[in-house]
Symmetry: C2
Subunit: 690 residues, 2 copies
Amino acid sequence: MVSLTRRLGALVVLAVVLVALPALAETPAKVVATIASPAGTLALRVELDGEGRPAYAVTRRGAEVIAPSRLGFLFTDAPKMERGFTLAGQSSRTVDETWEQPWGEWRTIANHFNELRVRLKEKAGAARELDVVFRVYDDGVGFRYEFPDQPQLKTARIADELTEFAVAGPGAASAEAWWIPGGEWNRYEYLYQHTRLDAVAQAHTPLTIRLADGTHIALHEAALVDYSSMWLRRVEGTRLKAVLSPGAQGPKVVRAAPFTTPWRTLIFADSAGGLYQSHLELNLNEPNKLGDVSWFTPQKFVGVWWEMHLDHSTWSTGRKHGATTANVRRYVDFAAANGIPGVLVEGWNVGWDGQWFGNGNDFDFKRPTPDLDLPGVAAYAKARGVGIIGHHETGGGVSHYESQLGAALDYAQGLGIGVIKTGYVADAGQVERVDPDGTTLREWHDGQWMARHHLLVVTEAAKRHIAIDSHEPIKDTGLRRTYPNWVAREGARGMEYNAWGEPKNPPNHEATLAFTRMLSGPMDFTPGVVSLRGKGDTPIASTLAKQLALYVVLYSPVQMLADLPENYAKYPDALAFIKAVPVDWSDTRVPNGEVGQYATFARKDRRGDDWYVGSVGDDQPRTLTVTLDFLDAGRDYTAHIYRDGPNADWHTDGHPMIVETRTVHQGDTLTLPLARGGGAAVQLVAGKGR
Amino acid sequence: MVSLTRRLGALVVLAVVLVALPALAETPAKVVATIASPAGTLALRVELDGEGRPAYAVTRRGAEVIAPSRLGFLFTDAPKMERGFTLAGQSSRTVDETWEQPWGEWRTIANHFNELRVRLKEKAGAARELDVVFRVYDDGVGFRYEFPDQPQLKTARIADELTEFAVAGPGAASAEAWWIPGGEWNRYEYLYQHTRLDAVAQAHTPLTIRLADGTHIALHEAALVDYSSMWLRRVEGTRLKAVLSPGAQGPKVVRAAPFTTPWRTLIFADSAGGLYQSHLELNLNEPNKLGDVSWFTPQKFVGVWWEMHLDHSTWSTGRKHGATTANVRRYVDFAAANGIPGVLVEGWNVGWDGQWFGNGNDFDFKRPTPDLDLPGVAAYAKARGVGIIGHHETGGGVSHYESQLGAALDYAQGLGIGVIKTGYVADAGQVERVDPDGTTLREWHDGQWMARHHLLVVTEAAKRHIAIDSHEPIKDTGLRRTYPNWVAREGARGMEYNAWGEPKNPPNHEATLAFTRMLSGPMDFTPGVVSLRGKGDTPIASTLAKQLALYVVLYSPVQMLADLPENYAKYPDALAFIKAVPVDWSDTRVPNGEVGQYATFARKDRRGDDWYVGSVGDDQPRTLTVTLDFLDAGRDYTAHIYRDGPNADWHTDGHPMIVETRTVHQGDTLTLPLARGGGAAVQLVAGKGR
């Protein structure tokens, strides 16, 4: 090999200006730009080393949390952009604003950051330019690359992104991480691993990290538009590096300049709950592009779904077909009787009777099965104040789905369908793409081509006032701000793994999700299996009270009552809470939480002054205390407390539940005893006093 | 998502035969084929799980060392091959043979294995077939995929290989690993990391592993021909997975069927030395395709090289140009005076005066610089029994080099050049490929395109009786067996890092290389810096005795005397050993060694009965004992022992060296005291008695 010295030996003759450059690692990097957050909590600096390699670093309250971390790109058809840069310019600005979510966890969102823009320019060769824009909040940093329009780089064919995240500080060497493997066949549906940060292999984001001093860090991205998802591969120690999801044609991303990448985001907090409270991801997305979206109403739904997972019925037609006229009517009746606005119908259409998994080319998104009078059922439902939730399972046959997309959405709209659950059941890397010339390619669920596909579906659906709930999705990066009809996703192990998973979700799964997957946005987890039983009458790792808590802990504007109607009839107390709990909120707090151990969320009903509290735990009995400091001063609240009974234990019987009602006030402390696999749910009804 | 249950719900109607399949992870895998090694030390089984996913597993002396590990492929244009397989057939055979290396560490190589061939066939869809061939030795396993000729798969466009290596056994959870990061910019030139196996991120091979019970494992590949190099990415725990080096056009590998992949190799041993003693890699390569290669003679060489790394001279022309007629003659004189057959001349040709790093398109491989009379110097050398070692630095401009390749080799042949050192100094992922249609692409040093390039160079060179010593190479996979003129490579941090590395090579670097990089084949490390000084008179982490030991420890059939002629004049004792030590051996033993701590190698001169012993250590003083059980019984040997003096210590002064001569016999024990950064070298001259 060769050192810079050797290169310099060659360069010295013609490029006298470079003579002063010593060898690579000997060069102290030079700070070329700095920016601090509004309150000064975070500070970011941009450096250039002696070879002109740019890096950024972050301090929090004066201590380094991100050591100098490289920036740059590899291309398939051009030299990389990674070194040889000078600073061609910089500028900064401040934004301090608030905006309102049409639906969500918080009504108003504050957006207050200081922005630094640096323009990097190559000193030699093609002299290409690259902007990096940093937005520094008190609770985190977002940065993105902006490729200017330039004759030397009309089209960027990105082989990979070289962005690094070098976690630093005294606690880094023994930091913990919670992660799922990125780039594996089962997409995002893995049990979370809890390891040392320096034992992470290749992870999806959000990646949640806890330093030894209690600092929590979440690494993720925002506004993933027309680009490939970022995985994080550990290079060595606690240094992570972006790896873009593959593209079948060579480049992982192809874009014409000018364009911007998604934001790379780093949230810093003193607690797990602090990570959740950050609005960084939403703030880094573009404002609502759809205008008035009042046509979507957050809602609960039931569905012809859990019975298939229990193997009581099938998606396919035949004797056990679930989506028959009679059976769907049964769910409609249950929904109408309980004020549930939606009924999901899976297996309603033609295409389920062959090898659809990873194929999907037999699906017809406009043709119900012969045993289902869908228009009739939809009318039947509508007359009872209930709407059908549509279902578009593609089996990964995405081009096939796109060929029917407009007609399929028209058809759904004609039936009064307001929400469609989409599905992409195929192994990772197996999405079928058929180009106009007939070429068939295999893409990844989270590559650029699918990022484009999902937005196509969402925008086409928006034209028809339909909301989208994507399963086997691309991960959430806050695009619900820009496209508020993209209401929820799967993208993790949901309730279905409690039907047949081997293993099922462990007792601490939801307390892990709360501070990992849920940092990215709403999840259609499908809670509320009050039977606490999966396929073959096998137990699930939950008490009854915990099932109620999930409606508060795991936010989604569409929340399923996943269980069978007949099971809800057996647990009227539980059903009462589930019927009452809202799906739209004006405020959210996280009174306590430790990743993978326990989590308490308090949320305020957007349509009133009531609060709801949900706590979930792990396999340990524990007692959580919640100080009700979020209630209005001087006001009475009637607390309906749904908590684990003294003998509740998911290993034996999770059903014992005590429902207790008492009056509480601001500043009171709720004491919530959690059983093994337990939880607690509290309804705080605002009364007199204001 | 969806479970197999859900899929089965769909399949049950049309595919009754599949009804019995339970859900994925519930299914106990079924063993469909087994094979044991000749002495029964290792046993391998092939399984198919309930979804038809093939896996292999390995036991050693009855205990599992590799847990069931998946097999398969992703394609960019077709569904993956990974599940849905049945066993369509199997066969086995035994081979027990020996063959001879034309040069090497051992004259004869025993090749004794049991082979199992399984044919897998997809049950549905395209019903593609795939063979997996396992060769099970007592010290390891090699397996490869064979794609049969079949109408459903004429061309394989491989997106990635899904081969896994799940290290198992009681010691796996706390196993250690020595590794360098795969897929990073500096190719293979990284300090070895010593971590727990479950903290490996993405590694190059050979990857060396030590289980808690002392079992050593090396994972690597053999016969990397027309395919992309394999990196190993840890998925979770101690489960590793193949990642192929990228290809700029989408697929990482494009091959027309029928074809075979490289062998994936697993060596198992009770000691680090046991790994080195395995001949698995050579055995899994095809026999010599070049016929008589006696035109290549293993040799030592000096060169116009270290002086550039010290910044005394430059590759580029001008006042400091190293490769001038006068300076090259100086090296020729030194070589002639000391019986050294070769003189390397770097910076001899036109092209070094611009930005050649990562570019290389200005290089002219037929035109010496104006200040060098290369034909005259070559004639001068020849008259003195010395040959010129050629140098083809490409700067990563590989298509440019190929455009001159034939003429360049003809030119070298005309000058009597018998060995050419090639160079590919460009960052990883930056090799420039210009296709015939003018398309420019950026490839990886270890991708399929470069695997092809290197063999093009080697075979073109062979036609002209020229040997190749590749720097910034693709890794070694034993192809010297098939192409014995591919004599050595770099592919790790060599001596040059002791000139200018930041940091330099640590004292235990060579004791790490011995059981990591060196498992793959000869390395042109360029030992013998007897000054023990790098650029700016900085110390290197070595004693003088260790520099001598390197000639025995780090095998190469071309070994440099890297230092300046004037420095050798100062250390005549050291020079005496270096002049004497052979570069071709008939036998090799590893009397002791622990990865990264110390290593002792004993090798027998191929041209006689003398033995040579070399030991290297780390930053601890230590005493090694070597039992001379490899000597002939009843014979006198005169031992010339070059060992660290009592005050030797690389931190202060590494030069004190004691040269001791005594008579020894078979079974005697040599006691070798090693200083900090120390080593020992022993010449055992066979005398009377036989």
